[in-house]
Amino acid sequence: MRTHCFFLLLFMWTNGAIAQVGVRATLFHFEQQTGRSGLNWSIGLDHDPSDRTSIGVDFISQMNLFSEAGDRTESTEYDGYNVFYGVARTVKGLQFRSTYFISAYGNAGFYMGTYVGFRSIELTVAPEVSSSGFGSPTPNWARTTTTSTMVFPVGLRWGLRSEMDTWYQDVYFATGFQLGAGNATLPPFLLAKDKLKGFSIQAGYAIGFGG
């Protein structure tokens, strides 16, 4: 909640006289919260406090709103068991963007910036186990578990944005850290690609309307 308030206040404080404001929707926001690629969408606000800088805040959610663990498509061995499992990911988060335009005019063109935010990530892991030993009991770790965790992505963004005059577009790429990713307690059998990543990348395409 405090994070929400911080972004909102920041947005309001910088809402100076020359500013332009736009509303954007990110149609494809690729973000690696885990080792797998993850498609997300977002909606947000853009605001240009000066003719070289811009700030924005986005609400981000996973693309599949009703994510379920589904098929157990992954298999691994753990503790003498063959483990088959599926993972469902739900993500909700906010991200604050701060941008500096490299080209001189009109808050448009190539930019470089930073981002910081948080993600509330819920990973539901549904495993099935089998063992070669007859009558082995199902281990405790082999139950469907849901892990909720909070990570704080922070990093650098690069992109190309058009002028915030009526409608505009933004194509971006970002790379940075997910602080707190190592603190999540996940099922021990998970493959590396299903664990939260400390280093992540983002890329996406957004369109917006402003003036």
């Binding site: 910088t14 700030i55 941008t99 910081v116």
Partner: protein, 507 residues
Amino acid sequence: MYIRCLVPTGLLIILLASGCASIIGGTGKQSLTLNTEPGGAVVYLNGNEKGSTPFTYSYSPDDGKEVVFELRQPGYKSATVTVRPERNNAVLFADAMLFHIPYLVDKNDPRMYALPTGDITVNLYKETPEVAMRQMLPITAVTTDLPTRADLGKLHGKPVKLDKESPFRDLAQPELLTGAVSSGLRDTWIDARVVRMGTTKGDEALQKAKMYLRPNVKSLKADLSGERLTCYGPVELEMDWKVMSALGKDSVLVSIPQRTTYYANGDRPADVVNAAITHAARLFAEEEGLQERLGGHYGTSIALSKGGEVLLAAPPAIVFNSRREMIPALVKAVVTIQTDKGHGSGFIVSSDGFLITNEHVVGNESIVRVKFEQGFTLDAQVVKVNKDFDLALVKVQATDLPALTIGDDSILMLGEELFAIGTPLDATLGQSVSRGVLSGRRELDGRNYLQTDVSINPGNSGGPFIDEDGKVVGVATMKISGKGLEGLGFGVPISVALEMLNIRMTR
């Protein structure tokens, strides 16, 4: 683990600190000096009086994102100057990289903002006095004595030469500068229009104005600094303003050499030359005694276009016994004037064959055919024309012609009945009579006209307007026509016609 946390935290602190102006201080100019030419103008900032020029100003973020100065000086038009302080790019970059936190810290710190220049000089222009009539002065071209690759001073520390790649390239095509001269003369007593000689409209304008303006740029020296797209500083311009006679080719009526200094205040470099010439044009209009000199030349030209005096014996009045007989008697003094290009109307003003008509009826002809009401046709000589007032005096070799009595147009009352007699549309419709009233007295382009709703049509031109007493009071000259327009005819008052043809009636 600690080291992993300490390094990014340390970097963040260093970056935050470097982004805060309150720690590193400002990097640009935080104050400027505002001057005016002439000095001593009162400076208003956001509507509040702050002092007088030269005025030193230090920026405060409370003054807003744009600082608008208004400069007032008695007898001069007030001027405004807008200054946009900016955070420098390095600081903006630090702001952006640090999530705008330094921006929030330093938002109200004036040291974060740099002013675009340290010195601004603003030219103030004199108030334009109310004038009854503006002097028409067409501009045909701007010329220049500057050779190719001429030295035009410095821009952003680099020398500027005259060529087509230069930011001052407009000087290489001086014909593009006529608009700048016209802009400078706007809202002054000079009615300056850009015209092209040799075109119908251009020649008409020259004919009306009797003179034209041909400015010549002799030299230009700039010393401009600023950003890539804006510049500040003086531009010294040497010009020669030549007013040429439209009557005699290459005849210079007035030549005024002029040296001016224009101060660029955030202009685009490509606009500086135009702005300097606009400024010089404005000062040209403020030249002491120029209005009187040009007025004198204009008066002389008008007098010249009247030609020599013509003495005409006042004709015996056409006799009619009643109002009913008046018009049938008067039509005998109205004629159809024919040329190869068409026909118009005219009326006899002396028994020995002098007729008045419009200049546009006779055109450039020296001999025209005159068809009388009685049916016969005579050749006539065009004695003189006055293009300014669209009048012509024509003479047929005949005697004892019925002639119209000259009336007094000054005593005509609004709504008083007027008749027009002429040959509208086709020569077979000669001596057609129409009737209306005097709708008003108008001044168009500095010329007086009688306005009437009498029905006049092409071919009526040059015919008489006749009052209720049967005397000629005007010469039908033009009508305003168009969809939905009716009854807007205009004629030259007979007194003006006689004066502009320099005709004196004798008893």
